[in-house]
């Protein structure tokens, strides 16, 4: 005779309800987590403002004769494709926020991870929030028109940094400050031509991430200059890497295998991190990198020692601090009406060439 006693734990229905209750109980932390984050985010935003204000107060009380608290404060949305997740972004954001605080600009930062669609969505949100201004570091330089149109329609001024927009979009912005990415490619090519000094040399070229605006500009700048000014330098092969040493090492090794090490006399990489990878690829083959003509861009913490060791002939200094310090200055000039719509200002950071002669100079001390 079957037992009528339900198994321990109750009937199937009761057990199911128990599990559902359990599920809902465990869900509570998720909901609480979301709620706490949202509340904390509100507090964080308030805290940022307070910190800025207290810094201003402290500054004005300590040095009342020379500095004054900003007469006016501004809310600016900074739509960036990178942030504290990358070395350049993190070393740019620090002076940006510090200088912004001094000028009375409170930045709300975003990071689209180089996704142009995500950046457009962030731009829509920023326009809806109606800030005093928008600082735009385009994820893709040619994909910013809808964002610029939306900001323009809402009467919000836009200042562009790091990667300039195209000529057709430029009138929708108040100006640009940052590196001359095409000019950096040219400067690196000048270093290459100088290093080669008329010798017939075949080189391989490691470009930045495919489709990236900076990578395209630097590639064009380098290629145009070499073709026009040093026909003795032949670009045997070129490939894109992902800005990382590991990616560059792989593509450099592939190109060396394909072209033959005996035919290669030099390497150009669009970033010092990638130079480091290319140098590793040479050393893995038992080669001495100092026997090759190698140039890069960045003068980074990876690149500067390579110049000092003689493994890289030269590089082009890109200062994240210059960019971080100057961007709020120009934004402030826009917000105070000093730069009017239609007066578009372009401010390039100096593309200082760094070779063994000046690699130790404090002016070109690597920042990222």
């Amino acid at each position: 005779m079957p037992s009528l006693t339900p198994p321990s734990g109750g009937t199937q229905r009761e057990r199911k309800r128990g599990k559902m209750r359990k599920s809902r109980l465990i869900l509570a932390p998720a909901a609480m987590l979301a709620a706490s984050a949202l509340i904390l985010s509100g507090c964080a935003a308030e805290e940022t403002t307070e910190t800025t204000e207290s810094a201003e107060t402290e500054s004005s009380s300590d040095d009342t004769t020379t500095e004054e608290a900003p007469a006016e404060t501004f809310e600016v949305y900074a739509l960036f494709p990178q942030g504290n997740d990358q070395a350049y972004g993190s070393t740019l954001i620090e002076p940006l926020q510090a200088n912004g605080a001094e000028l009375g600009i409170n930045f709300t930062l975003s990071n689209s991870g180089y996704d142009a669609t995500k950046q457009l969505a962030e731009c829509e949100i920023a326009v809806a929030a109606q800030p005093d201004g928008i600082m735009l570091w385009p994820a893709v330089g040619s994909a910013v028109r809808p964002c610029l149109v939306a900001a323009d329609n809402a009467g919000i001024p836009v200042w562009v940094i790091n990667t300039d927009v195209g000529p057709a979009d430029a009138p929708l912005t108040y100006g640009y400050s940052g590196p001359d990415t095409y000019g950096q490619g040219v400067a690196s090519a000048e270093l290459m031509c100088e290093a080669v000094d008329g010798e017939e040399v075949g080189i391989i070229q490691v470009n930045g991430a495919a489709g990236n605006g900076t990578a395209i500009d630097r590639d064009n700048g380098f290629t145009d200059h070499v073709e026009a000014n040093c026909p003795n330098v032949t670009i045997l092969a070129e490939q894109n890497a992902d800005w990382t040493p590991a990616g560059a090492k792989q593509v450099a090794a592939d190109m060396i295998s394909a072209e033959g090490i005996e035919n290669i006399g030099g390497i150009y990489a669009a970033d010092d991190s990638m130079v480091d990878g290319a140098v590793q690829a040479l050393e893995d083959l038992g080669e001495d990198a100092s026997d090759y003509f190698i140039t890069g861009i960045g003068n980074t913490k990876l690149g500067n020692p390579l110049v000092k060791e003689g493994k890289m002939y030269g590089t082009v200094f890109q200062s994240s601090v210059w960019e971080g310090e100057n961007a709020p200055e120009y934004m402030h000039r826009v917000l105070t009406g000093e730069i009017a719509k239609g007066d578009r200002v372009t401010a390039y950071m100096p593309s200082v060439k760094v070779t063994a002669e000046n690699a130790d100079d404090p002016e070109v001390a690597p920042e990222w």
Binding site: I26, A37, A44, D115, R145
Partner: protein, 341 residues
């Protein structure tokens, strides 16, 4: 005396017991609770989310549209990792063909073809969907770079693109309208159409589905075609709105789509879930992202939070709870044996 053995629970009668039963069968509970909590908190901390409603809905549509197509595949216990690269490749197709009247159908057709190829490898060749769609992800990503010559490609008719981003009526932009049309179409298909309802059977118990005469392979083809088509549609929308196609488009789409589907209560092994759940999941994520952005919360913190919510959503799935509970019981000493000793 006659004893009655009742198998299963007694049939619930009355409005509230029936309502309780209906609610008990739904899988969207976690998503609904999360969304309500988020909305309640935001009402006090970030009311701009509500005043800027068109932007918030637009963000939901952005996250949700690919997730809706993906859900059709997830319901059958399959995965489609190629959605983001389908989006990128179809976007490039729209940009490289100058005439939009040809470009848009070509891009959508491409999505359908991608779905058919995915389904062929999964249903006919027998490759796991994770592997097949991973291969498709790389192939389409490469194709997008080749077709675009590795640079962003602007659409020929810029004005049409800019007009596409403008509201049609009220706050409703074409993106939002298409999102809701896709939602209604897929929702009706999986709830009212026999072929769509069979997705649940295919995902719940594939052998039983075969045995009961459901054309499982045909359903897998249907699911992947829906996923491919919707991803391509998203690619068309993205490209028109940006006026430019980038071969790297949609790089953040894949994870967001899966997150929306999972938060909405869709079971990754198939058989349980709903399109409404995905809508709720996308809404939760979209509103949360807008609020965190407006609050100036750093992206790594946003990602950590969303990751934590996703993890909790997976853990609180009833089947995961059962597995955890069984593990705990297995590791604890058997009480009866302890007592006997």
């Amino acid at each position: 005396m006659t004893e009655t053995i009742q198998l299963g629970g007694a049939k619930e009668t009355g409005f509230f017991p029936r309502l309780r039963t209906i609610i008990g069968r739904r899988t969207e509970g976690r998503g609904v609770i999360l969304l309500l909590v988020i909305l309640a908190v935001l009402a006090f901390t970030q009311p701009l989310v509500f005043t800027a409603l068109p932007v918030t809905i637009g963000r939901i549509a952005l996250i949700g549209i690919v997730a809706l197509g993906l859900t059709a595949v997830i319901l059958m216990g399959e995965l489609d990792l190629s959605v983001a690269s389908t989006l990128a490749a179809s976007g490039v197709v729209v940009a490289i063909i100058p005439d939009l009247r040809i470009a848009i159908p070509a891009a959508l057709l491409m999505g359908i073809v991608v779905g058919i190829i995915n389904a062929f490898f999964i249903a006919i060749v027998g490759i796991a969907s994770f592997i097949a769609s991973l291969g498709m992800l790389f192939a389409l990503s490469g194709l997008a770079f080749v077709l675009s010559n590795e640079v962003p490609v602007s659409i020929a008719n810029q004005d049409a693109g800019l007009a596409f981003g403008q509201p049609l009526f009220g706050p409703v932009t074409p993106r939002i309208l298409l999102f809701f049309l896709v939602f209604i179409a897929i929702q009706l298909f999986v709830t009212k159409v026999k072929a769509g309802r069979e997705f649940f059977a295919v995902g719940g118990n594939r052998q039983a589905a075969y045995d009961s005469g459901i054309p499982v392979k045909r359903r897998i083809f249907t699911g992947f075609i829906i996923s491919g088509f919707v991803s391509a549609l998203a690619g068309v929308i993205y490209t028109l709105e940006l006026t430019v196609a980038t071969p790297t488009a949609g790089s953040t789409v894949l994870l967001a789509s899966f997150a929306a589907a999972i938060i909405g209560g869709n079971y990754l092994k198939g058989g349980r879930g709903s399109i409404i759940g995905t809508l709720i999941g996308a809404s939760s994520l979209g509103v949360l992202q807008v609020a965190l952005f407006l609050s100036g919360v750093q992206v790594p913190v946003q990602n950590t939070l969303i990751g934590a919510i996703l993890l909790i959503a997976v853990i609180t799935d009833p089947s995961s709870l059962r597995a955890i509970s069984a593990r705990v019981r297995a590791t604890l000493p058997d009480r009866t044996k302890v007592e006997a000793q």
